[in-house]
Amino acid sequence: GIQVEQSPPDLILQEGANSTLRCNFSDSVNNLQWFHQNPWGQLINLFYIPSGTKQNGRLSATTVATERYSLLYISSSQTTDSGVYFCAVGRIRDDKIIFGKGTRLHILP
């Protein structure tokens, strides 16, 4: 099956810093989402981005489908950005979504 690898696995930053999270996948996809899982376990949609670039406030994401990777950028980090960030992809030939293992982000005040 498709492999989804996220890096780094853990990231500790000072408030105000910028960060880049990466997601590599091993097959062609027609669905890619970034989620933030908050400390209460709720998965919050950040981006639906099977290709191209999107921005939402301090967050932006880019997916280069032909090279099988996606990047999530967080600028001017705040303590509320802490949590686990997941990349999830869906292959062209089926509809199930496969998650990576996540990047655990901890923003220090």
Binding site: N30, W40, G41, F99
Partner: protein
């Protein structure tokens, strides 16, 4: 409108018992997914419904697990003869076919 809801939020059961977990998707969403998340891991796909039918149940770990969606809306995940290894957070998501998924808050299942 309302998001995806799941009940109960927490369930504690004894080993060997039967449990049912319920998911109410976003109104109008034709696709519904069940996932299981263990501590420190990403959600693991279990089963996907398109309408009333299970389009892909390849993630169900064994025949103790079964899910239904009889009217194409609410879904129930059923676990027979629960084992301690079934303890996890069970997540449900819904979507319009081929579009982004929206997740519910999950049901935390603890098997003692």
């Amino acid at each position: 409108g309302a998001g995806v809801s799941q009940t109960p939020s927490n369930k504690v059961t004894e080993k060997g018992k039967y449990v049912e977990l319920r998911c109410d998707p976003i109104s109008g969403h034709t696709a519904l997914y069940w996932y299981r998340q263990s501590l420190g891991q990403g959600p693991e796909f279990l089963i996907y419904f398109q309408g009333t039918g299970a389009a892909d149940d390849s993630g169900l770990p064994n025949d103790r697990f079964f899910a239904v969606r009889p009217e194409g809306s609410v879904s129930t995940l059923k676990i027979q003869r629960t084992e301690r290894g079934d303890s996890a957070v069970y997540l449900c998501a819904s979507s319009l076919t081929g579009h982004e998924q929206y997740f519910g808050p999950g049901t935390r299942l603890t098997v003692t």
